[in-house]
């Protein structure tokens, strides 16, 4: 049972990395979800050119691997005289990715509210903006928490990609411990267990939440 002693020794630095992973997740969600809502609104805007551009943006970021966006930002930004930290690079790249993905959820939520609601609001003399912001949007947002929480789990998993540019989140911490001890397997398995526990437990909570929303 020597590996348990190792695990106990490594756990503090892994948990420290986990803190960074969670902080990244929060930052990405804080920027990515509002961006997603904005993109959703633009993608159903009255102006055709706005719709086309926003949908193109969404399709491009949904079609490209997150890692390409990360490398593009990390290696590309300095070329255009834009110098930001590796942490900020991850947040920017990941938020763009999340914005594109979550926009579909927001859009479906908005489209799900039938035209009758808007018509009823308009017939009360509300301005189009009020009809949208006070009647349609609140109903649309009621359908999105479940899917957005699932996105949050995916974001948490993908923060492991920060490893590729040396942000010290959990995977990086595990790997650097591995490179010092030459026992990659043990420490990576421990990191995997921590990821799995967090993801499985949150997925269960989300599933329970969604079941509750449905009733």
């Amino acid at each position: 049972m020597t590996f348990l002693a190792d695990w106990a020794e490594w756990l503090p630095s892994l948990l420290q990395g986990l803190g960074t992973s969670l902080l990244l997740t929060l930052c990405v969600a804080g920027i990515g979800f509002p961006l997603g809502l904005g993109l959703a609104l633009l993608s159903i805007a009255p102006a055709r050119i706005v719709r086309i551009l926003s949908i193109a943006f969404i399709e491009i970021f949904r079609g490209i691997p997150l890692l390409v966006v990360i490398f593009f930002a990390y290696f590309g930004f300095p070329d255009i005289e834009l110098v930001i930290s590796a942490f900020a690079t991850i947040v920017v790249a990941h938020s763009l990715n999340l914005g594109a993905y979550s926009s579909e959820v927001f859009r479906a939520g908005i489209l799900h509210v039938g035209p009758g609601q808007r018509e009823a609001a308009r017939s009360l003399g509300l301005t189009p903006w009020h009809a949208f912001s006070r009647v349609v949007l609140p109903q649309a947002l009621r359908a999105v928490p479940g899917p957005l929480m699932s996105f949050l789990i995916m974001v948490f998993q993908s923060t492991s990609l920060a490893f590729a540019i040396g942000v010290g989140e959990m995977t990086s911490q595990a790997f650097s411990i591995g490179s010092m001890t030459f026992d990659y397997l043990s420490v990576l398995v421990l990191a995997g267990i921590i990821y799995a526990i967090i993801c499985v437990v949150s997925a269960r909570i989300v599933a329970r939440f969604e079941a509750k929303m449905r009733t």
Partner: protein, 219 residues
């Protein structure tokens, strides 16, 4: 320096990685589909002892990030059996896609209308015939659209294999940047290559979804 000629050269070099990217996607999707069948069957069993290992497999495999899986297999198991990057990536991606596809298949099996199985049973079909001739073909239809969109997700996931040194699109883009090519251009080219495959693939998956919706809409 001639920028156009450089970009053309970048396309050529990075394009050689496209084959590996597609190879990883196709192999792990196909092998994953095959593996997913027994997992899905176990997952839908009425016997807890059969169901529980399948549930655990799916949860654990999906609960660990792709990168961590690839690191475990390449560096971790690498100390036991030495694997080249590509086989290591194929093993990891197959494992992951089998868990995701098993969930799709399970949902397919569970969403076949209960009346279908009853009708098959009422005709005196054996349990095996009820499943393979009546439930399974319809389950495949239901599982097809989500599996097609999973193929797109898998394609993008293969990019992570570059981190363990698989010579795919990203790998060559990184290599060219290391040799002094402009990073913005190199990764735009890499992104373009992914788009060339992923956009048609996701349109195809929407098309499949639409087709199947028409066919399966229950009367």
């Amino acid at each position: 320096m001639n920028v156009e000629a450089d970009t053309g050269a970048l396309f050529q070099v990075i394009g050689t990685g496209l084959v590996v990217t597609i190879l990883m996607t196709v192999v792990s999707f196909c092998a994953g589909s095959v593996l997913a069948v027994p997992v899905a069957l176990m997952r839908t069993s009425r016997v807890w002892l059969v169901r529980a290992p399948a549930t655990a497999f799916i949860d654990i495999v999906r609960g660990i990030p792709t990168l961590v899986w690839l690191l475990i297999i390449f560096y971790g198991l690498g100390s036991v059996v030495s694997l080249d990057p590509l086989p290591a990536a194929l093993i990891g991606l197959t494992l992951i896609s089998s868990a995701y596809l098993a969930e799709n298949f399970r949902a397919g099996i569970e969403n076949v209308h209960v009346g279908q199985k009853e009708a098959a049973a009422a005709l005196g079909l054996s349990t095996a015939h009820q499943f393979w001739r009546v439930v399974a073909p319809q389950a495949v239809n239901i599982a097809m659209p989500p599996s097609a969109s999973y193929a797109v997700a898998l394609l993008k996931d293969t990019a992570i294999a570059a981190i363990i040194g698989v010579t795919d699109i990203i790998f060559f883009a990184q290599q060219e940047v290391a040799r002094g090519a402009p990073a913005v251009t190199a990764f735009l080219v890499a992104g373009a290559f992914y788009l060339i495959v992923s956009v048609p693939l996701s349109y195809f998956s929407r098309f499949v979804d639409h087709k199947i919706r028409q066919k399966v809409v229950v009367v």
